[in-house]
C-alpha cells in the first residue's frame, strides 16, 4: 500500500498545518508544487467565503489552466516545425530526383558532373533538415554527426572507384550549430571535400581528409579542412576563383563573417575563423 504523504511533506512546510488558514494555504501550495512538476491539471477547491484564500485559490486554478493551454500550444508549434523540416527535406529530395530524371538520357560528361555537384549541394542542405526534424527542439544540429553523414554521402557520390580515402574528424561531439550557421558550413565542407575527392588523390595513394574544429569558450571557432593530396595547380591564385565551387566557398565564408586562409604547401588546407 502506498504511503500517504502529509501536506507538510508534500508542500515543504516546516510543520503540519493546524489552523484552517494554514490548511488552506497548504492545499494551495500543493497545487503550486504540482505546477512546478509541470502537472497543470491540478486544482484547488474554492470555498464559499469569497475571501482572500478563495481569491488566491481561484487565481492559482486559472493560472494552471493558462499554463496547460500554453504548453499545449507549444507542443502544437513543435509539431508544426517538425512537419516543416520534414517537408523541406522531402521537397529537396524531389528536386534531387528531378535532376536525376533530367540527366537520365544525357551522355555529356561535363553536364553529368555539374548535375551531380548540384545534387550534392542539395543533399548537404537536405541532410540538415533531416537531422533537425529528428532532434528535440528543431533548432540545433550536432556538427560532428552532420559532418560524418555528409562526408559519407560525398564519398559515395564523388570518389573515383578504387580510390582509398580516410577521414579524420576532430570535432567536439557536443558542438551544435543553428540552421543559419550550419547550412553555410555544410556547403563549404561539401565544396572543399568534393574538390579533394575529385582532384587531390591518385588511385595509387591512400588519401586522408581531415576536418578539425577548434573552439575555446568565449573565443572564435576555427574550422580547418585539409587533405594530403597533390595541392593546388601552379596556375591557381586566390583571385582566380573561376569555378562555382570556389566562389561558393568564399561567399559562404563571408556569410558567416569569416575569411578563408588557404595553404597549399603540403596538400591543401583551408582555415576559417568565425564567431
Amino acid at each position: 500500500m502506498a504511503k500517504r504523504i502529509s501536506l507538510k511533506e508534500e508542500t515543504l512546510l516546516e510543520k503540519e498545518p493546524e489552523t484552517t488558514g494554514e490548511k488552506r494555504a497548504a492545499e494551495i501550495l500543493k497545487v503550486i508544487m504540482s505546477y512546478a512538476r509541470l502537472d497543470f491539471s491540478a486544482k484547488t477547491a474554492i470555498g464559499n467565503n469569497a475571501d482572500v484564500f478563495d481569491a488566491i485559490a481561484a487565481g492559482v486554478n486559472m493560472l494552471g489552466e493558462e499554463l496547460k493551454n500554453s504548453s499545449i500550444s507549444l507542443k502544437e508549434k513543435e509539431h508544426l516545425l517538425q512537419e516543416i523540416h520534414h517537408r523541406v527535406k522531402n521537397n529537396m529530395q524531389i528536386i534531387f530526383s528531378l535532376l536525376n530524371l533530367q540527366s537520365e538520357n544525357e551522355t555529356d560528361k561535363k553536364f553529368l558532373v555539374l548535375i551531380r555537384e548540384c545534387q550534392n549541394r542539395i543533399k548537404a542542405i537536405a541532410l540538415i533538415h533531416e537531422m533537425l526534424y529528428a532532434t528535440h527542439g528543431f533548432k540545433y544540429t550536432n556538427f560532428f554527426e552532420y559532418v560524418e553523414k555528409l562526408t559519407k554521402n560525398l564519398v559515395y557520390s564523388c570518389a573515383i572507384p578504387g580510390m582509398k580515402v580516410d577521414f579524420n574528424l576532430e570535432i567536439d561531439k557536443e558542438v551544435c550549430f543553428e540552421v543559419d550557421r550550419i547550412i553555410p558550413l555544410g556547403l563549404i565542407i561539401n565544396e572543399i571535400v568534393t574538390n579533394s575527392l575529385k582532384y587531390a588523390f591518385s588511385k595509387s595513394n591512400k588519401g586522408l581528409i581531415s576536418i578539425k574544429l577548434d573552439h575555446k569558450p568565449g573565443k572564435f571557432y576555427q574550422l580547418t579542412i585539409s587533405d594530403n593530396g597533390i595541392g593546388l595547380p601552379e596556375e591557381f591564385t586566390i583571385k582566380n576563383k573561376s569555378s562555382l565551387g570556389m566562389q561558393l566557398i568564399y561567399l559562404l565564408a563571408e556569410q558567416i563573417g569569416s575569411s578563408v586562409n588557404l595553404d597549399s604547401t603540403n596538400g591543401i588546407s583551408y582555415r576559417l575563423k568565425f564567431d
Binding site: 478563495d54 481569491a55 481561484a58 486559472m62 493558462e66
Partner: protein, 131 residues
C-alpha cells in the same frame, strides 16, 4: 443590482438576465456560481435574445461568482462569435471576484470595450456612452 418589478427576467443555470428601461442590458451571476462554457453559452444566448433593433451595452454583476473556467472566459471575450453587445462593464467587489475579473480582462482581451468597476453607478455612467 436589483431586479426591477414587472421586468421579464431570463433565468439560466448561473445567471439572471434582463433589459433595463435605460437600454442597458443586465446580467447577474447567481450566488456561488461556477461558470463553465455551458453556463457561459446559456448566458450569451439569453443576452442576445434581448436584441431588438440596435446593439446595446451590458452590465455584468460578477460579485457572487465562485469560479470561471478558461473556456468560459474565452467565450465571454466574444472573439470568434457574433454578439449584439457593443461594450460591457463587470461589477466586482470581493477578493475572489476581483481576481476572476482581472484574470479575464488581462488574459482574454475582450473584442469590445470592457472595464471592471466596484461601483454600479460608475459602471452605468460609463456604459451610457455606448447607447
Amino acid at each position: 443590482m436589483e431586479i426591477p418589478v414587472e421586468t421579464k427576467v431570463i433565468e439560466t443555470t448561473a445567471f439572471q438576465t434582463w433589459m433595463g428601461n435605460d437600454g442597458i442590458a443586465r446580467t447577474k451571476v447567481k450566488p456561488q456560481s461556477e461558470i463553465t462554457v455551458k453556463e457561459a453559452k446559456e448566458n450569451s444566448d439569453a443576452v442576445n435574445s434581448l436584441h431588438s433593433e440596435t446593439n446595446f451595452p451590458l452590465l455584468v454583476d460578477a460579485r457572487n461568482i465562485k469560479s470561471m473556467t478558461k473556456d468560459a472566459r474565452d467565450h465571454f471575450s466574444m472573439n470568434n462569435r457574433a454578439s449584439y453587445v457593443n461594450a460591457f462593464a463587470i461589477l466586482i467587489d470581493s477578493p475572489l471576484s476581483k481576481i476572476i475579473g482581472n484574470f479575464f480582462m488581462g488574459l482574454n482581451k475582450p473584442r469590445v470595450p470592457a472595464r471592471l468597476f466596484t461601483e454600479e453607478e460608475e459602471a452605468l455612467l460609463w456604459l451610457r456612452g455606448y447607447l
